[in-house]
Structure formats: structure tokens, C-alpha cells
Symmetry: C2
Subunit: 415 residues, 2 copies
């Protein structure tokens, strides 16, 4: 804890150059809220003047991640800021994970070991590096300064915030009113996270809109110890493929970054034209100006489907390769222009609902169920042209065209 507090002298207000204004526009692209814009403009101007990059914090839980495009919205914003020359701090919140669930209510959540935490962090970093520039990313663990607080530091930290202000957090006030138990330690977590900003001397913290409360705590704590407070940039939660609900694995409306390229491609081609522009804004590496040009072209008669293809290819290329993006396009074209031969065999099977692996084996499309599983995993299996990605799928009774890879087909009558 900083013992002696000296407030920094108020900085002179710098004029905003064109490049600062441009950087500000990039930072604000697609964002939900920037707190406070004028302060952030000054930070950008000072950074430009002094040649000192801004320090941008992204706090992460050290859980084993399996990212989908929704998670990459914030990463994408960081990438844009990295491209402007700033430094991203990938902050692993390992401290509390080393404790586990201290309430002991969740016996199935034992504390993570240091090895598990580092492995999870590296898995996350590897996935995130498909979006971020790893050269301009610093990885830090908050146990570095949290343990050093000690019991006394924790009390001092807790003294910096009032119960009433912590209770302003939506979930706390709701739970308190509903009589749902809140453990006292849950009040300490936002403070620990805020203290991370103090320890890192963060200039900007990014998060989802649902993180706004926690990000503001950091701002307040920095002010209290006499640091210039960080700005806050919240990004919206990305809508899923349905264009209505937030993208989430459990809702099935997601595009996983590790899904096969042709699966990603097919899913992205299914979104509405409106959602396409939303995805462009939040996920594309194309500049604001380039996107404006595309919009203009569509307004003047260009088929939006072609713009969607370009976007889907950009995403597949980012998470796989240019070749995969080409193959996914080709595959999509084949399929949508009707790639199913006329002379496919008809197979009669019984035992519905039948696991997908058994169906493929019994239809003679795969030599074994394990081979069948592999094909599903590769996104090479389709039923009635729809890619099947769920290895646990049980197929119900009916007549359907089943396809494995480019050439194996069967018309299955399943009873």
C-alpha cells in the first residue's frame, strides 16, 4: 500500500492532434462506454508527446478457456490499441484462484495449483495471440503484489471503500434484497481487482459492460493513493448467430475459435445482414474507413452476401490459415450450389435415436465409430447439408442425406 499520498500536479491540457483524434476514434469504435473521454484524449496526447505507450489492463480469470468470437471483442479492441503503439497487460487473477472457494460451499472447486494456473494462462494467451500482438503483450500475475499486502494491507484496502458503494453493484444489491447469502469475502474481490490497477499503474482498463462496476473500483482506488485514475472502456457483449441473445456456448449460438474453418464459415454465413455490420464493427481488423466503403458499395447495389463472404474468410484466416479460408469458401459454394450427387445409395437403419458415430458406421460411411468421431471433430460430417459438430448427437428417426467429407454420401432411412 502506498503510505504517503501526494497528488500529481494537474497536467497542462494538451491540444489534440489529428492523429490523437484518429486514435480516439479507433478506441471508441464499437465501444459501449468510455469513461472519461476527455481524460483519455489527454492520455493519448501525452503518450504521443512523450513517446510513452499507455498501459492497458485486461483482467482474466485463470480458468481453462475455450474462446468463442464473443470473447474476442475485447481482445480485438486491445489489438487496435496495440496497433496504435500501446502496451497490453494480460493480467492473470491467480491470487484468488490459489485460495479456491474459501466459503467451502463449492467442494468441487478446489484451489488451482500454480502449475494449473500457468498452464491455463498459457492456453488463454495462445488463443488470444490469434487476435493480440504477443510482442506488445505483458503477462502478469496478481499474486505478485496481493500476497505482499498481508493482513494489514487487506484491512487498509478495505478501508478505502464503503459498504454502501460496494452494495451499488447490481448483483450484490439484488442478492441482499432477496436475502441470498453474500459472503463478506465477496466484498473484498472487487477491491483486490481495483488494487491490481494501482499496482500496475494502469492507464486504461478494458472489460465487458458487465464489468463496469469492478473497473470503476480501480479508478477510485488509484485516485485515493494519488495516482492518475485509469480510464474505463467497456465493450458490448456480442450477440450470437441468432442476432438476439448474447453469444454463448450453452445457447449454441456461437462460433468457437477452435472450430474447423468450414464450420466457422458456414455459421458466419448464416447471420443476418444487420448482424454482419455489427460483427464487422466489433470483430474485423478492417479499418473504419474500409468498412464505410463496403457499406457504401452495398447501398449502391453490391450483394451483401459477398461482403459476408469476405468477413467469414477474414475470421477463418485469422484462426486457421488463408488456405483454410479458401477451402471453407469452396466447400460452402459446393454445398449451397448443390454438391450432392444424384446416384447415392439408400441405407435402411433402425434403433432411433441413434448416436451419430453408430449411424455413420452402420451406413458404411466410416470404417469405425472412432473414425466417425474424428470426422465429426474435423467438421467433415453433414446431415441434410448442415455441418454436425456435436459428437454426442443422437439422430432421431427420419429420412436424411448424410455426407462424410467431399465424396461419401448416403440416403439414410432411420426408424
Amino acid at each position: 500500500m502506498t503510505e504517503n499520498i501526494t497528488m500529481p500536479a494537474p497536467a497542462e491540457e494538451l491540444p489534440l492532434t489529428d492523429s490523437v483524434k484518429e486514435a480516439l476514434a479507433i478506441a471508441k469504435r464499437g465501444c459501449d462506454e468510455l469513461i472519461i473521454e476527455a481524460e483519455f484524449a489527454q492520455k493519448l496526447a501525452r503518450s504521443e508527446k512523450t513517446g510513452t505507450p499507455l498501459r492497458i489492463k485486461l483482467g482474466l480469470d485463470p480458468t481453462a478457456p475455450d474462446l468463442h468470437l464473443g470473447h474476442t471483442v475485447v481482445l480485438n479492441k486491445m489489438r487496435q490499441l496495440q496497433d496504435l503503439g500501446h502496451v497490453v497487460i494480460f493480467l492473470i487473477g491467480d491470487f484468488t484462484s490459489l485460495i479456491g472457494d474459501p466459503s467451502g460451499r463449492n467442494a468441487t472447486r478446489p484451489p488451482l495449483t500454480r502449475e494449473q494456473i500457468e498452464e491455463n494462462a498459457m492456453t488463454y494467451f495462445k488463443q488470444a495471440s490469434l487476435v493480440l500482438d504477443p510482442e506488445k503483450t505483458e503477462i502478469r500475475y496478481n499474486s505478485e503484489w496481493s500476497d505482499a499486502l498481508g493482513a494489514r494491507g487487506m484491512i487498509k484496502l478495505a478501508a478505502m471503500y464503503t459498504v454502501a458503494r460496494i452494495m451499488e453493484r447490481d448483483d450484490f444489491s439484488k442478492r441482499f434484497k432477496a436475502g441470498t447469502p453474500i459472503s463478506v469475502h465477496e466484498f473484498l474481490y472487487p477491491l483486490m481487482q481495483g488494487y491490481d490497477s494501482v499496482a500496475l499503474k494502469s492507464d486504461l482498463e478494458l472489460g465487458g459492460t458487465d464489468q463496469k462496476f469492478n473497473l470503476l473500483v480501480g479508478r477510485e482506488l488509484q485516485r485515493q493513493v494519488g495516482q492518475e485514475p485509469q480510464c474505463i472502456l467497456t465493450m458490448p457483449l456480442l450477440e450470437g448467430l441468432d442476432g438476439v441473445q448474447k453469444m454463448s456456448k450453452s445457447k449454441g449460438n456461437y462460433v468457437g475459435i477452435k472450430e474447423p474453418g468450414n464450420v466457422q464459415f458456414g455459421k458466419l454465413m448464416s447471420i443476418s445482414d444487420d448482424m454482419m455490420w455489427r460483427y464487422y464493427e466489433l470483430l474485423s481488423f478492417k479499418s473504419i474507413q474500409e468498412i464505410e466503403k463496403l457499406k457504401k458499395a452495398v447501398a449502391e447495389g453490391m450483394n451483401p452476401r459477398d461482403v459476408k463472404v469476405a468477413f467469414a474468410q477474414e475470421i477463418v484466416e485469422r484462426f486457421h490459415s488463408k488456405a483454410d479460408a479458401e477451402a471453407a469458401l469452396q466447400d460452402f459454394v459446393n454445398r449451397t450450389h448443390g454438391g450432392i450427387p444424384d446416384d447415392i445409395p439408400t441405407v435402411k437403419l433402425s434403433g432411433a435415436p441413434l448416436p451419430i458415430g453408430n449411424l455413420l458406421k452402420q451406413a458404411g460411411l466410416c470404417p469405425s465409430t472412432s473414425d466417425a468421431m474424428r470426422m465429426v471433430q474435423q467438421g467433415a460430417v453433414r446431415i441434410n447439408s448442415e455441418v454436425i459438430s456435436d459428437k454426442a448427437l443422437k439422430v432421431g428417426a427420419g429420412t436424411m442425406v448424410v455426407q462424410v467429407g467431399k465424396r461419401r454420401f448416403a440416403k439414410v432411412e432411420l426408424a
Copy 2:
């Protein structure tokens, strides 16, 4: 923090011997609440059976004390328990004092140094030893185990209690409802105090009725780590000499344990007969049986004034000496039987209000103001038969008999 929790096997229920029943009656004498009596009876029975003394905790702030009789109610109870063979732990809550006021709102309350804390604790212990048996008193400082908790231990501790339960504490719920700020660290203090009971393996904790909430936290935390929970004994707050308000220095209705014997004696003789029995119950070392005998004697015609004299003498003897108790009685008798000579000189003074020291010097009753201060301190100064204990007293205009010691008198006409 205890990591592995094993609940103790439920102990067999022991029969209560006569001596255990007697001890229970002594423990309950004058108490406000004993939580839970049946549990405490079992602790006493087990202690008797195994010859292991109970560990009785009294938590204290390491502030410089200036005790009055009200403070000694709890000490007296501890003394009774010591006389039954149990061990008293004089727990100095130094940990939080070493932090000071972490909110920084009270700049006039800097953290105490280790030396100041130990000095205050010793001052307290020295005063308390006039009531307690110092041989059966252990002095402990809670920084011993609180620092060792570290930041993680603090979080684990905080996880053991819910916000809703902490909010049940009267002052918290009132302040929260009134919108008066409560710092988050204030929620940690009852938990730290409760953890002291865990660290000490306390069997019984004593406190004023106003401490009940905090004492119960200790009970709960012990249960959570698998210790047999401590029992709680709350003592009432002693009424002052007026018999109405709580004894307090600021209300002037107190008997300080460092006040001169004749001052104490005079003050105690001023209480009502009803209050006298209350004081006997809470402050006398006389047994329950002895007090019953006195009550019976009064009912049968004994002058209650004589019972009051015996009590006042017991108190003066405890805090001074047997000789002082005798002298105080003699002094009281002299005074109440009219000890003022007829032929005292009359002195005319001006300058009212006049500091007491100047008055005594100018009236020729003391050779110097510093001598006058000493006489006030010794309780040797009276105005109109009332002992003056306030060295800063300014005497207003009027005519009064001023007395110093046994023989020096003057009739002062102050203008």
C-alpha cells in the same frame, strides 16, 4: 487458518456435581446473559473431571485506560472465575491499533507504536490487577496470529461470514439505513476478534452486553473450524451513582479506581439503598451467601447505612489499603457529624471565577498553587464539605467554607 476441519466427537454428557452447580451459580451472579448455560455447565463439569482449567477470554483495546467501577464489573466476574481455578486471558487487540485508522478520516488517531501499546497494556493490567489475580492471568497480543493470516487468510476468514449476518449488528444496520458511511474494513474487525477466540481456543468469552454480537462471531467461527464453540457471558453496564444512567466519566456519575479513598468512600455513601445491593452483586468480593445474610439482617432491622459503609470500605481497601479505608471512614464520620470548627477566619477575595489553586493560595490555606494542586489530587480539599477532585475547577463568586486537610479552614467571600 485451520485447513482440515474435523468436528470433535460429541462428548458424553457429564452429571453436574454440587461443586459444578455452585460454580455455575457464581458464573451467573449478576450476569446479563449466559449463552448457552447447558453447554457451560458441561464445560465446568469436564474441567472438574479432567483438572483442566477453562480458558476465559477478555478482549481489550490497547488504549490508555483510566478505569472506573463500571469497568471492573467484568473484571470482577473474571476474578470470581479465577477463584474457581480457571485461567483468564487478557487479550490485547494490538493488531488493528498498529494500523491506526485505515480510512484516514481521523488524522488525529495515528497508529500506536509497539512501545505505546505495551505501555498502555501494562497500565491497564496494573489497574486490573487490583481486581484480577495476576498469577492466573495470561497476557496475549492478537498480532501474534493476525499478521500470520496474511492476505489469503483474511479472505478465508471473510468467507466464513455473510454480509447479512454482519449487518445484523445494531450499529451497522442503523448506519446502513441512515446512509451513514460504513467502510468495508469495519466488517473485518468483528471477524478478526472472532478469530482471536479460534486462535486462543477460548472456552468462555466475557464482555458487556453491548459486545454480544462480536462475542457470538467468535462462537460461530470456532464452530466452522471444528472447535467446540466458546460460551458467552455478558455482564450488564453498571448504573452510575445517580442510579439511572450508565456509569461514565463524562456524566460525572462515576467512581474512578484511582480517586483518593475518601473521595471514593464519600461517593459510594451517596448511592441509594437499592443501588447498594446492585453494587454488592456486581462489585463485591463477598459471596452470594454473605450478601444474602446482609439482606436478611437489614430486613430484620439493621441500618442499611452500616451495610453501605462496609461496601465502601471494601472498595477503598481494594483500590488503596485497609488503612485508607479506615481513614476514609473516619473522615466521613467527622464530616457528616460536623467537623468544621466555629472560629474559622473569613477571607475576602476577588477575581471570580478563580482557579481552585489560586483560591487556596490567596486564602492562605496552601503555601503555593503547586502545593494546592497536590492537596486536590490527594482528595484533601473540600468546599462546603464536598471533596474537590477537579484540579481545573474555577470557583464562582459566593461565600463558602474551604477546607484543606483536617485542620486548615477558611470562610471565603469570593467576588
